[in-house]
Subunit: 341 residues, 2 copies
DNA sequence: GATTCCACTGCAACCGGTTGCAGTGCGACT
DNA sequence: AGTCGCACTGCAACCGGTTGCAGTGGAATC
């Protein structure tokens, strides 16, 4: 434990600058914040000194007086007991969020919460660590939302809004997504198109199913309940449900899967039992994760423009914090055609 | 812009608690921090009131007086111009870091820096937003390290330490990794094992190559320079370099690839030209990203135990901040055998 | 020449904690 | 009884900004 190499050149404060410029702290503070009360000459002089001295404002001090942290917490949950590995979807969205926040001078805090913990909102909001939350957690999401609404905490969530609560949301256009996917498969001449959905209780899934049904009807096809199953978005569940789908409707020639991960699991099963993709069974996924370009065959999928989602989550949350305007944004989807369909 | 629904029940401060308990602010502060000066009775009374009032300490205030933020910044760079998509390796490490930090009561800040920006360390350290950095950026890493060392900023970096500077590092056991991978391939009876490395100037890559050479020699095989090429870790470069490898050594029957992403690119090329994996060419990757279980064939790879890496990065950095003890940790690697080899 | 106004600037309080030092009360020891 | 020490507790300053309000000087107006 050796002593500090360079005893730190004590941080330069506005008081130091004030002394050097021969003005008061208030003037320096105002000048640095470009307050119109301050004369141009003074401003320039102060800015020059600040630059020369490499002045860095002290964030905790500013946050203390301003009573806002200029920080947003990204909340998600640990995926595994011990170490948490974030899923791909969550990860890809992060880049978009930071880009949106940075433009407005906000910091991004990572927050991995225990799904059963009810204390994290207070620990961050009341404690002044964060001004708002971006909710990506799916486990027990409703419980968390209820809690946040009740304590009047600023937050925005990914997913279809709960009818009983009022809060900001960003969602994908699931109806159109389902229609695009199934329509594309029908357009390829497929006649027995299956639906491998996410959890049946999710509104998103119903909408995708509705889009799927519409597209089939428009193509003159019927929706056969035997060709409809539901999983939980994971690749494991994709494999499992694909098997039960093949049991129930062995003659299917296409499948619209509600997540890329499930689609990958499904394709593995198809390959195992000797069906070729896309020749025997065409597959369309959902999300357009970067992994879809790296699997074989590359996966045709519905793209949600995830970076845009992230950016909107950031921007709309900040807007809500400032104006309390509740927004619901639907981001457009598009079909990305690759090899699998 | 409607008025606040519930006009916020103004945050409870230690002054409020002091009033209610009939003691002074100092006593409350000490009691809450479990300072031995305070009597047990008083402590209990104060803790009870704090709980009842849902007291949350004000972080900015504490950070201001303590002059430390209890926050670590995770610094990486944007991968694309406009929106940044984090690469998988970076992302998987994040979970481990947060787990390590949380145990010690630290927050994790995400920091995406422009590789050419030289101002971010000051903007965060001097400004009191973060107490230290975890460096994962690879672009212009050396420049950033130099900068941080010169300003005596606490940080830890993933990768082999620069010989001229002294700072904390965590690295994988690349020598063993290379030996394990090549040894496994040799053990399968492969005779013409190629090496598809990362950037040739990286020390990590040299070590993996050394391990590879050692393993080949131990197996009685020769290292043929024609079977050695270098890429940049991306899947695109994996595909490209695989092609040049096949040009130069069309008879290869196995390849040790320095990253999973490159391995995936390489496998696509192999498939395109009609070579089967693993029958014709066995492939071993590096990193054990979660994606390796989802590709076909699943990828045999060298696992760096990424969650552990993250945890060590966090713990060793905090230790450095507290004691200025410079640590260099090598995390063990292991071979994960799957279908591709 | 006196008054008014305006454009700036400074004073001092405040945000909510932490901490050095100076009490305070009480039992113990001489 | 007097003194000392010990175990607590309180006072007040401080961290580094922001801001309401009062003050200053000079030009413009009457």
């Amino acid at each position: 434990m050796k002593p500090r190499a360079v005893e730190k050149k004590k941080a330069c404060t506005i008081a130091d600058i004030a002394r050097e410029a021969g003005v008061s702290k208030s003037t320096v503070s105002r000048a640095l914040n470009d307050n119109p009360l301050i004369g141009d000459g003074t401003k320039q002089k102060i800015n020059a000194i600040a630059k020369k001295r490499h002045f860095q404002i002290n964030m905790p001090a500013r946050r203390l007086t301003l009573k806002q942290s200029n920080t947003i917490a990204f909340v998600t949950h640990s995926m595994y007991k011990q170490f948490s590995v974030c899923d791909l979807f969550t990860m890809e969205i992060l880049g978009g969020i930071t880009s949106g926040l940075k433009e407005q001078g906000y910091d991004l805090l990572m927050l991995f919460v225990d799904p059963c913990d009810a204390d994290w909102p207070a620990q961050h909001l009341a404690a002044g660590r964060a001004d708002g939350f971006i909710l990506m957690t799916s486990t027990r999401k409703q419980a968390h939302i209820k809690m946040l609404v009740e304590m009047d905490a600023p937050f925005i969530a990914w997913g279809i809004p709960h009818p009983k609560y009022s809060y900001c949301t960003v969602i994908g256009d699931d109806l159109t997504g389902g229609k695009l996917a199934a329509g594309h498969l029908a357009g390829l001449g497929r006649k027995r198109i299956a639906f491998l959905g996410g959890p049946s209780e999710e509104k998103e899934v119903s909408l995708r199913f509705e889009g799927y049904s519409t597209a089939l009807q428009e193509a003159g096809l019927i929706v056969d309940p035997l060709r409809v199953v539901h999983g939980d978005y994971s690749d494991k569940s994709g494999a499992e449900k694909m098997r039960s789908l093949l049991d129930r409707a062995p003659d299917l020639d296409a499948v619209f899967v509600n997540s890329d991960l499930m689609a990958i699991g499904a394709m593995q099963v198809l390959r195992e039992i000797g069906k070729r993709v896309p020749e025997d069974v065409a597959v369309v996924g959902y999300d357009n994760l970067s992994i879809t370009e790296k699997v074989t065959p590359t996966l045709t999928t519905v793209s949600q423009n995830i970076p845009l989602v992230g950016k909107l989550l950031a921007q709309n949350l900040l807007q809500y914090i400032r104006t309390r305007a509740v927004t619901h944004t639907t981001v457009p989807v598009e079909l990305v055609v690759r090899q699998s369909a």
